[in-house]
């Protein structure tokens, strides 16, 4: 049984209960008021359950950075940077170093020019047409929700992850 049908069963059961109660209770207006409240509550619960995640194409970024700038911030103090930027919408401009469309979501990497450090942009597939033709070497501004950054072992540099990303603009070189 999935969540949708659970809600539907609960709602239908409560509706039947109200109809049954109406046969016994004289003051019908109380029942009608109750039914209205039930409908409103059910509608709200259903809306909450079905509420999708935000799409960021038209959202305003909380912070904007160049690739190297944001990496420096996380390299200096990842814990502090996570505290400040986690869950915020961040727009990053830089050169695409690699795209990985082998899985869902697609990942676009923007790498530090001199290090293994990278910004990993987990793309929102609703905007596939905007990013599907982006090639390494293209300079782009991508914005997404900051899902955290960490200094990695094995000399892999510092990674910052953005999720539900949308391409804000791109410059072809």
């Amino acid at each position: 049984m999935n969540g949708d049908s659970s809600l539907l069963y609960l709602f239908t059961f409560t509706l039947y209960l109200f109809i049954a109660l109406m046969k016994f209770i004289k003051k019908k207006y109380i029942l009608w008021a109750g039914l209205a409240i039930l409908l409103a509550a059910g509608g709200y619960a259903y809306y909450e359950f079905m509420r999708g995640n935000p799409h960021l194409k038209n959202a305003k970024a909380d912070y904007t950075f160049e690739v190297v700038e944001i990496m420096n911030v996380f390299e200096q103090d990842a814990a502090l940077a996570n505290k400040k930027f986690m869950d915020k919408i961040i727009a990053v401009t830089g050169k695409v170093s690699k795209t990985d469309s082998n899985g869902n979501p697609a990942i676009i990497f923007m790498q530090h020019p001199d290090k293994m450090s990278s910004i990993k942009c987990s793309m929102d597939s609703i905007y596939k047409n905007d990013y599907k033709n982006i090639q390494p070497g293209t300079t782009v501004t991508i914005k997404g929700i900051c899902a955290g950054g960490e200094v990695l072992d094995f000399g892999l540099g510092t990674d910052v992850t953005l999720k539900r990303c949308a391409v804000e603009n791109k410059i072809l070189h």
Partner: protein, 179 residues
């Protein structure tokens, strides 16, 4: 004589270090899913795992920022972050272990090789020993790792009653490249 000694030492040091690096494979886009099937159908997925595997020693490490997991519905995403995995308190999940039978994998020959990994899995700030089965695939020089295993959420201090029978399936899928 002294100069020759220094050059030789430097040569051996470089050879040793580069040899170690060449044995390592990595991915920064490993896919990890947390799945709990019940009336809430929790399915969280991320392609942001950092994976490092040593072909020689079998050492295997995964790490992931838990906030990078994405769920289809906003309400479930909030529940996942705030109530289930408490991502603000425990931002990172990781596995540090070893592939027990790395010698069974012939990295020079295409094929699928059954493997098992033993190590410490950290979720929700709790570290537990686990053993998981999986497979290493070598295809045209590309090495990929897949695994699916289950954990009891109670073992990791997750007490939210909204997760079905308390069993969470974790899947791992990544293609690796030379470090």
């Amino acid at each position: 004589m002294k100069i020759t000694k220094t050059i030789l030492t430097a040569f051996f040091l470089i050879a040793f270090l580069s040899g170690n690096v060449q044995d390592k494979l990595f991915s920064k886009a490993g896919k990890i899913e947390f799945i709990a099937k019940d009336h809430t159908d929790l399915e969280a997925s991320s392609r942001s795992a950092v994976v490092v595997m040593d072909k020689k020693t079998g050492e295997l490490n995964f790490s992931i920022m838990v906030k990078s997991f994405e769920l289809e519905k906003a309400g479930m995403q909030e529940k996942f972050n705030n109530k289930i995995l408490e991502t603000d308190k425990f931002p990172k999940a990781e596995f540090k272990g070893i592939l027990d039978n790395i010698s069974a994998v012939n990295f020079a020959k295409d094929g699928e090789y059954a493997v098992s990994a033993t190590g410490k899995l950290t979720i929700h700030g709790v570290i537990k020993d686990i053993t998981a089965k999986g497979k290493v695939t070598v295809k045209k020089g590309v090495v990929s790792v897949k695994s699916e295993f289950t954990v009891s959420i109670a073992d990791y201090g997750i007490s939210n009653p909204g997760i079905g029978d308390g069993i969470m399936t974790i899947t791992v899928d990544c293609s690796l490249e030379a470090l």
